[in-house]
Symmetry: C2
Subunit: 115 residues, 2 copies
């Protein structure tokens, strides 16, 4: 599947490495399924954070393997089958870690940009 170079010009909508943190934070507000997570991120960020399914689902599976989140099949309000995720204790630890690393990073970069 050979793709045009041009199509990849505007890649990286999300700053690499922040997706896990954003998902964990979303799950802090309550259990949610993948589609719901992406909707929540999108609306709460005024449409800025648009997570593609090719990023989202692999991330969820990765995080489930790492036991940061736990999953369960349930019905949605629309009466559809969906995989609901909730954050685990380990996930909360990870979230705290990610947040502090993020703060450090933003502070460091700001110190360059505002010098």
């Amino acid at each position: 599947m050979k793709l045009e170079r041009e199509k990849y010009r505007n890649r990286i909508e999300l700053l690499q490495g922040t997706l896990d943190m954003l998902i964990l934070q979303t799950l802090q507000w309550g259990a949610q399924h993948g589609y719901g997570i992406s909707q929540a991120l999108r609306s709460r960020s005024s449409e800025v954070l648009q997570v593609e399914t090719g990023s989202l689902y692999p991330a969820l599976h990765r995080m489930e393997r790492q036991k940061w989140i736990a999953a369960e099949w349930r019905q949605t309000e629309q009466n559809q089958r969906a995989r609901f995720y909730r954050i685990t204790a380990e996930g909360r630890r990870q979230l705290a870690h990610d947040r502090s690393k993020w703060e450090t990073m933003v502070a460091a970069i700001s110190s360059i940009l505002e010098a």
Copy 2:
């Protein structure tokens, strides 16, 4: 060259996509060579931003190809041959673009983290 998984655990010191912006910003303060850029980033960020040579030089070459920076061999104060880079007009445009994208991104992520 098969490497141990463990060694890659703590990767991504830099948020992916920010390196170009940081280099351009550094060059705004005056022409500088690669080694100097990495020292500047490191010291101005209180040792947080540590750019590896394997990231730095490819980035510089990339940016030179894109004409965001221009290069010239000169002597350092230590009387060593070094490749000095300066930012171009196009580079300044790119920097402005990167900065605004960065601000948008940080604001969006903050809106999630602080909700």
